[in-house]
Symmetry: C2
Subunit: 575 residues, 2 copies
């Protein structure tokens, strides 16, 4: 039951396609015992959470149970992680509700069909990404974007639950200003007894988590409050309860909806597919590192995508690998997907036999579970770290946070990714330049702006360019180096230290050729030193390398380049 | 009259704001003679071209003259180039027509007002970019994008003139498929006499350009065909002629249009502002290099932006610095903006006194001028060079070309820029890695995949990462380096040559810290060598540098790093 204990995963033969077979090759009784304990532990946590997240997604609570049976079995068959716990999670539930509410026009049957279609789309996108090996796409969401997004989404989620906690007659609201306005308008409809139930639930959840963390807090609160609610008939006194919860498991069916719905859901499906995969892969990787297992990102996309397709076929809504449940699963000993099979069977038993027990469960309890679960997601420390490490990272986080809060989850995610990429591109369009001098008595060269006592020569400038030389910065570099040469009438040679030029393109090659000609017109020879292989290849294809090589202007390192310019000896000075 | 002769430009005092004052400080009679000759030469070229481009923009031909008076004077006052010839140019004329036609609903008065508003918007955007010093934004349009865009636009422009060349009754068409379809539908309305006029005009233009390049071909063809048209009364025989051309110059007026028109024109205005600036700055820079003058990109934005505002106020349409006219201006001796003042005065005299002479000018002649002018813009050589230099550059060019041809100029430009950036980002998300070995008998290290006979040590891997380490590739690098360590059980140290890591961010620092821990779990120590200053600073703010420095894991160069790992001596082998 600790991190050093691990189960070998065999990925040869048929296990390449169905990893579960690989796990079973080395399965033993001890592993089974761990998986049984972990599976039951997660199920006890998952039953109340999945119902709460279903409500957050705007779905009947029982569909949360549906989302926690077949999708888990499918993931167990195909997933490459031994500890990931798949099921409904808070953020994708919020995104699901946001996407569906405007399309469903208040019709619950249409809402459910749209949810299924959305899950199918999410699954199809994930499977497609896995087949095309596009898992790396999610890397364009930086930690800063994810952190700002998650914090804002957690606040929106918590805010959206306030109406249920207070028993208000308020409609669904998607953004923070809408939520505040909606709560303000309906503030007079606050229902005292519901507030009491909410306070008791929140207090129970927090106290149990704090003082008895080993106990299944959510389940105990659900059970306790349900007993009280049934005993005092709270449902007849204005407290909203679940009333009839249908029992049994759903039969598979393809949601019957048209192409226009599919088009309307597509942007949300892409966003959910990325976020759901991102949440799962992050936790799966960190757990796999601790148990020395291997995660295959593209296999994970196939597995979680198939789980979502199953969710779509079994009247559920999009699922993902959940962060907190996976951590519980891991620390309870889960090392193979058999744990998820145990969880799925437990949830199935609940759905078949125990739904009547939820009749008297107040909705406010589910809201309390959601609020307590997501408040831990607000991450102030990451914001401070990002801002301190790099202003642009902090700004990206802030932009994502504010846009998500004010305009919703998808605009927030899109704005964050776009802003982060724009900052990166803008920075790469104006790369750092360092003028170098020689460390006396050595062949090492350092930035004259950072070190003192370096040997320089007024006739030879040594400049290092830090970054790829490509279309967006080629003109900038040409202008900068040319104006440097123009400002120094004594200059006879400019040595470009290309060691940090990692890449180039046709525009970069063209700019180098032009720079060489324009410097020559000023009587300055351009030399290149330490050109990296890929850059050299491209300069060769553009014809620039041959010309410069023919003129003895390309060199293996700075020492050779300076020898060619004849610098560093007669006129050299220290600064 | 040659490139080495140059006029000093003084940019101190009030000349910082109005560069013309700086030119005049060093003005002499010789310069005046050159500017007079150049100004007249350009005017003779500009009068027929500006009328032809006005027709291309869907405006009355006389507005081409309007666009060539006040905007030129404004540019002469503010421009930093001594040779740029501003006025109507083919590509922005096409973009103007494309933007206005759907909004004007066939009402010529509304069309003219929209054209003025568009010029005002273009000017305002350019002035704003100049004030905010955003001239570098145009660098995101690579040569490949511009080349593909220009070639496709030239084909669309030439295609759009075919109906006038053949005298067809065809409507305006914006994309290549539309043009073909429109010509096909109206093919039966071809007018024989108009075809004859067109053939004569095209032949005249091409023959004069080929055999008498010093003569003003367009003007001669216009004069000759007009005389024939008047003598034989071609206008009464079905050849479309300009008929009444209003004389005089327009009074300034603000186009009276609402905010909704402004919103509708904004995307086109942004595209035209960028393209117009790009065309001008490119030619201005290349000419300035030859006359040893200095171009200030942000001053150019202010100048051409002000010229466009003047165009908007004087009933014209967007203008730009033209490529071919500027080259003519330069080779005729223009070295100061006084040449443009001369041109503007000549065009003004034409507008006031000579418009009755254009009564009998056939529209087909203007179409012939446009076609002959733009066919030289189709650039096959750039396409071949781009494809050969770098596949992604060739693809970018092809995407821009095809989208421009099939969907129009703005989608083409947007698709090209987006595709080019996506290729750059995708490449930077999977940076090149090189495993290094030591060149025997030296302290130089080279890529083992490119060189043979290098000294390596199976216990110490040296890996160079070529590219910035940032959010989009941090995970990729961590995974790649970790799997390298996992595949080599003998490994005790991994030395990361950071000399080509030009930049990093919070995610990069986090990935390094995580990689270090995960390698340590495998018994492999991570060492960094040759970390560039900006990267070191950031790792310091993230706290990674201090930890690694404390453990003796950061080194000035590879030699020091290898000494710290104890590698390269006992067990080393050649490969």
């Amino acid at each position: 039951m600790n991190g050093t204990e691990y189960v070998r995963q065999d990925r040869s033969g048929p296990a390449r396609v169905v990893p579960l077979l690989g796990w079973l090759r080395h399965y033993d009784r001890r592993t089974l015992r761990h998986d049984l304990i972990a599976g039951v532990t997660v199920a006890v946590m998952l039953v109340p959470q999945s119902m709460a997240y279903a409500a957050l997604a705007g779905m009947p609570p029982v569909t949360g149970l549906y989302a926690s049976v077949v999708p888990l079995l499918v993931y167990a068959l195909l997933g490459s992680s031994g500890s990931l716990a798949v099921g409904p999670v808070a953020i994708t539930a919020l995104m699901t509700g946001t996407a569906l509410a405007p399309l469903a026009q208040g019709d619950p049957a249409r809402y459910a069909a749209l949810a299924g279609l959305l899950a199918l789309l999410v699954g199809a996108i994930q499977v497609l990404m896995g087949v095309l090996r596009l898992g790396a796409l999610v890397n364009f969401m930086s930690h800063s974007v994810l952190s700002g997004f998650t914090s804002a989404a957690a606040i929106v989620i918590a805010g959206s639950q306030v109406k249920d906690l207070l028993g208000l007659d308020a409609g669904r609201a998607e953004t923070f200003p809408e939520i505040i306005a909606s709560l303000w308008r309906s503030a007079t409809t606050v229902h005292g007894l519901t507030v009491l139930v909410s306070l008791a639930s929140v207090a129970g959840l927090l106290l149990l988590r704090r003082y008895l963390p080993k106990l299944p807090g959510a389940l105990l609160v659900v059970a306790g409050v349900t007993v009280v609610s049934a005993g005092f008939a709270l449902g007849t006194q204005g407290v909203r309860i679940l009333t009839e919860v249908p029992g049994g498991l759903p039969a598979p069916a393809v949601p019957a909806l048209g192409g226009s719905d599919m088009t309307a859901l597509l942007p949300a499906a892409v966003a959910i597919a990325l976020v759901a995969y991102m949440e799962g892969i992050a936790v799966a990787k960190s757990l796999a590192a601790r148990s020395r297992q291997q995660i295959s990102p593209n296999q994970e996309l196939l597995a979680v995508g198939s789980a979502n397709i199953a969710a779509g076929l079994f009247q559920a809504f999009p699922v993902a690998g959940g962060f907190s449940r996976s951590a519980v699963n891991f620390s309870a000993g889960a090392r193979t997907p058999l744990a998820s099979v145990v969880t799925a069977l437990m949830v199935a038993l609940t759905a078949v036999f125990l739904t009547p027990a939820f009749h008297h469960l107040p909705k406010a309890v589910l809201a309390a579970i959601v609020v307590v679960a997501v408040l831990g997601l607000v991450d102030r420390r990451s914001a401070v770290t990002a801002w301190r490490t790099r202003r642009s990272d902090g700004l990206t986080l802030a932009v994502t946070f504010v846009v998500t809060l004010l305009f919703g989850v998808e605009p927030g995610l899109a704005a964050g990714v776009a802003f982060g990429l724009a900052m990166f591109l803008w920075r790469s369009a104006r790369p750092h330049l360092a003028e170098l001098g020689r460390v006396p008595g050595t062949q090492m060269y350092r930035n004259v702006a950072r070190y003192t006592g370096l040997v320089t020569d007024s006739r030879v400038a040594i400049v290092r360019v830090d970054g790829p030389l490509y279309f967006a910065n080629a003109q900038f570099l040409e202008d900068r180096l040319l104006s440097l040469a123009e400002q120094r009438p004594e200059l006879t040679a400019l040595v470009l230290d290309a060691s940090a030029i990692s890449d180039t393109d046709a525009d970069g090659a063209h700019a180098l050729a032009e720079l060489r000609q324009r410097l020559a017109a000023l009587g300055v020879a351009l030399h290149l030193a330490t050109v990296r292989g890929p850059v050299r290849d491209l300069l060769g294809r553009a014809g620039v390398w041959q010309t410069m090589h023919g003129d003895g202007q390309v060199h293996a390192d700075l020492t050779a380049a300076l020898a060619a310019t004849g610098a560093g000896h007669p006129n050299s000075s220290r600064r």
